[in-house]
């Protein structure tokens, strides 16, 4: 009992080192999410650029769309952004942004600065919808089909390779490409 507090720092460090060691050999990959092949959680959010217009999940039924979670404070989003802007220009799919735990001026300023690939962005100030979608962190991307079912989830930035190898074939198979 008396010795416990002496050993604790060492135990903590060993755990940390084990994680770092794993970090050396593992590569980040998309992970199967409990949400995949389940209906997307219901939501009702206002648009980032217009607080008076509310968008619900069911408004999106009938078309395949992509939900991209972003925030102006997110460095990884800046890495991802050019890819997203480029992809939006191809007009392959409707991309909806979920502006996560942000403020309207910061979010809009960010889009003005780096370009706006989104058909619209939904404003999730407190991150409640993000929680429903199981957002670990930002950025994350979901592909949702005509029936409102989540078909794909990615944690981390989109890359041109991911779009070519995963997203585009999926969109084709969902009949909207």
């Amino acid at each position: 009992m008396k010795r416990w507090h002496l050993i604790a720092p060492l135990v903590l460090f060993v755990l940390l080192a084990a994680f770092l060691w794993r970090g050396l050999r593992l590569d980040p990959r998309e992970l199967p999410s409990p949400l995949v092949d389940k209906p997307a959680p219901a939501f009702s959010l206002t648009r980032l650029d217009d607080a008076s217009r509310t968008i619900r999940r069911d408004d999106m039924l009938g078309k395949v769309w992509m939900l991209n979670v972003w925030a102006s404070w997110c460095e990884a989003c800046r890495t991802e952004h050019p890819t997203l802007v480029g992809f939006a220009k191809t007009g392959t799919v409707t991309i909806v942004g979920l502006n996560y735990k942000d403020t309207r001026p910061e979010g809009l300023g960010w889009l003005a600065r780096f370009g706006d690939p989104y058909a619209m962005s939904l404003f999730d100030e407190k991150g409640r919808v993000g929680i429903d979608f199981g957002v670990y962190g930002v950025p994350e991307t979901f592909v949702i089909d005509k029936q409102g079912v989540v078909r794909f989830k990615l944690i981390g930035p989109l890359t041109p390779e991911l779009i070519a190898t995963k997203i585009q074939p999926l969109l084709k198979s969902l009949g909207d490409a």
Binding site: R3, L6, I7, P9, L10, F13, V14, L16, A17, F19, L20, W21, R22, G23, L24, L26, D27, P28, R29, E30, L31, A71, W73, C74, E75, A76, C77, K101, P105, L108, G109, A112, R113, G127, Y136, G137, V138, P139, E140, L154, I155, G156, P157
Partner: protein, 671 residues
Amino acid sequence: MIPEIGHFALILALLVAIVQGVMPMLGAARRDATLMSVAVPAARVQFALVALAFGCLAYAFVTSDFSVANVAEHSNSHLPAHYRFAASWGSHEGSLLLWSLMLAGWGCAVTFFSRHLPQTLRARVLAVMGLVAVGFLLFLLATSNPFARLSPVPAEGSDLNPLLQDPGMVVHPPMLYMGYVGFSVAFAFAIAALIGGRLDAAWARWSRPWTTAAWSFLTLGIMLGSLWAYYVLGWGGWWFWDPVENASFMPWLAGTALIHSLAVTEKRGAFKSWTVLLAIVAFSLSLLGTFIVRSGVLSSVHAFATDPKRGLFILAFLVIVIGGSLLLYAWRAPKVGLGARFEMVSRESMLLVNNVLFVVAMLSVLLGTLYPLLLDALGLGKISVGPPYFDTVFLPLMAPVLFLLGIGPLARWKQSELPALAKRLRWAAGVAFAAVLATALLAGRITLGAGFGVLMSAWIVASIATDLAYRLRPIGPAPVSLWTRIQTLPRPLLGMMLAHIGVAAFAFGVSMVRSYEVERDVRMQIGDRTEVAGYVFTLRGLRNVKGPNYDAVQAVVDVRLNGTPVALMHPEKRNYRVQGTALTDAAIDRNLARDLYVSLGEPVDGGAWIVRVYVKPFVDWIWGGCLLMALGGALAASDRRYRAKHPRDAAAPIDDLTATTTGTRPLEAGA
């Protein structure tokens, strides 16, 4: 030829470091004075050799010797000379060499300022520093040789990252590293105490100035980094909670806890094993931070994968140094003991709360920083934990720190009485609330954040004023002049007060900017004007400017307040030729009350630009506060009594915090 000399000097430095690490340690164990006496010359020679190696690298950079791979990758002949020099530490290899240079430099400084130390302690301290140096030099030579040659020799280098081409970046890394590496001295003292099993007030007094000096450098380094981010990133932000910043902030938090805990260990002999642990943790975090940043493990796990040798070496080194010292701690700390007891209300208890809060804050920053890494390691993807997490967790932890800062320095050691304390501080509390009221009246509105910030800053300053007035009060029938009384105040006390005033200034600046900053993104054509917080910004013109290694579009923005010209500002959008990177160079008009900040966004159709305009009230107080903290630390560390040779001087506790321990000055009513 010159790079080979540098390489050879590094190899020799490694050999000397091995001698410095092993022989004095053996000597201390065997009480062999001859072996121990190796420590001082070895530390000095090691410094000379690493300095020679560094000089060779700097020479290769300044003369643009592109046959050295490191130079070819991080420099360019069109780069201005001072940036060519600064590019020496712009790469992974170069910055590790700078690290080693600093480490050897601190070791060398220890040899000069530690003549009064017992020989065994000095031998052990230098040996520990030598062993750390072995790790670094081995790492450099085995995986990151800065002197590797290229064949064929490229005609031109691929230039330094434009973000680093800035005066702030020339001084920021050396300052930061001075801080990081400075904690190695405190670390070495702690390890020496654990090995020797002896930790007393004298030990604490010896390690205090080193710790405080390192802490001051770190404070300065972080300040410069923040200042740099403010004007280079073009966002007008001064702290982003990104992993690289956090890596420097964690050792700072641990170091802040350490300098306070050392005070208790010196004055009261308490917190002994805790102090040792903090010294280990502060340096461990410096190591972790350096490697996290240098290995790129956080910005990209793939950077590790490209050179698994480097990653494994880093980890092995961390495990040996940190794991080894924590093991030593678990084994030996009971020998060191816990120390004297104290009451619930006393300066010790307040400093304990301070320590707990700082350590919890440090752990929460560590968690937030490593969380993406942990997820990444578990294959759960790559994410960003941003300001929302840090703001929610960090600010509530700092609030009680600020409040206690107003009380702690006035509380007595061992035991203090709340009613008496409250009575002494009632004026300070009054002043604080009056300040909030005044702010609300002046600004016309007040937010919770601004109210709290002003309340705490005024509280801290008023409490220090109370303390100072008491200490400077005339004593006796024929009091000495005020100036004489000021001169008798001990430097560490003045340093502490200065640093605490810095904290108040910092808190004030942060709360003002967060609450009253006005920002606007506008589309502007030549002749367009926009009004922000009463200032009228007019875009007068746009012109092309040619820099030494970049081309830029420069805007001329005229600022007027009520029709009177205030400033002519020149924000730039630069395009660096070699790497083709665009960079925003914001124009800032500073004064103590506000910054005007204009940065150029993107060009839009019709020759217009997106211009970002900010008015940031009191933002310079943030860095001013940091500067005061660093100066306070420097003042405290400069007290000559810390280096007292005379045993009698060294025996008397240095009265930096209060006179109450001696009991000659009844501080509280009724005492």
